[in-house]
């Protein structure tokens, strides 16, 4: 066996690197699959929470637009619906989603006072399970 001793040592060192690289790549692939599913599931749950709250408020506006005759109330209800219509439908990093949501909640409080609605809470649900 006339191999260069440094080549033999290189083989030993590179074996470790090779094993590490192969197992990393295998783990990365698994991580990508898991991350996609976990991320989607969490995002979906969060989206449902937000959508449910906005849908609730929008539905209340829609119903009371049919039931009320006061023009001032109708105007306020439509303004609130417009705020909801312009709420970002994607998780846009440039948009102030939290700020917009708080603004909608604040408008809704005024609407509830105008309509003398009950104290149904629209606090965000913390249940993210599916």
């Amino acid at each position: 066996m006339n191999r260069d001793i440094n080549d033999i040592f290189d083989d030993i060192a590179l074996t470790e690197e090779k094993i590490s690289k192969e197992s990393y790549e295998e783990g990365f692939k698994t991580g990508v699959d898991e991350g996609n599913l976990e991320g989607y599931k969490l995002g979906y749950a969060q989206g449902v929470n937000v959508g449910e709250e906005l849908g609730d408020i929008y539905g209340i506006c829609e119903a009371h637009l049919l039931l009320t005759k006061a023009e001032k109330v109708k105007k306020t209800l439509k303004q609130l619906q417009e705020s909801i219509d312009s709420f970002p439908r994607t998780n846009d990093p440039e948009a102030d989603i939290v700020g917009d949501l708080e603004h909608i909640r604040s408008q809704f409080k005024k609407v509830k006072a105008m309509l003398r609605l009950g104290g149904e809470s629209h606090e965000p649900k913390k249940d993210l399970s599916f």
Binding site: I5, F9, E26, K41, G43, D56, Y58, G59, L66, R89
Partner: protein, 172 residues
């Protein structure tokens, strides 16, 4: 025996002296009365090599999983958020409108409209049948999202077809 290596890179030089020192130390670890010293040493070496390899594999695999997850998590989250928001908003607005109209005396309700309102009140965006990922865990996320959005569109179409009176009332 002399093992000397000298090359342009001036790397490793292993002398016979060092070689025998190492051999002696390893020999002391073994049972001096064992006639199969060499085989025992080989087994120990193989076992240790196997343990070290497995360790390296585990560490590499774990690092890979962590990095893999981080690389796609946000994208998956954004997609899921968008799909979940659309479905729950559309269902909930109909459900809430129906609930209020059903309980209000200010609006005339035909029997058909009343039945529609009662049906719609029982809708829930949190119903697991609306969450298409549960039946499609092995599919890529883009496909899951397409299925989810297709389902949402179907739900809206069915709402329109099955609750025409409410649609007429709301004027959608």
């Amino acid at each position: 025996m002399l093992i000397v290596y000298r090359n342009q890179n001036k790397r490793v030089v292993l002398s016979a002296f060092v070689y025998f020192i190492i051999k002696e130390k390893l020999t002391k670890l073994m049972d001096p009365h064992d006639e199969n010293d060499h085989n025992s040493f080989q087994e120990i070496a193989n076992t240790n090599l196997s343990k070290i390899s497995k360790n390296i594999q585990n560490i590499g695999y774990t690092d890979g999983i962590t990095d893999g997850r981080e690389s796609v998590f946000q994208n998956g989250f954004d997609q899921g958020y968008c799909d979940g928001l659309r479905l729950s908003f559309e269902i909930q607005k109909f459900k809430k409108t129906a609930e209020i109209l059903l309980n209000s005396s200010k609006i005339e309700k035909s029997d058909e409209l009343r039945k529609e309102l009662e049906d719609l009140s029982s809708l829930s965006p949190r119903d697991q049948k609306h969450f298409k990922m549960l039946d499609n865990m092995n599919k890529p996320i883009t496909e899951v999202s397409e299925l989810q959005n297709s389902h949402t569109s179907d739900v809206l179409r069915v709402l329109k077809e099955n609750y025409p009176n409410l649609y007429d009332v709301i004027g959608v």
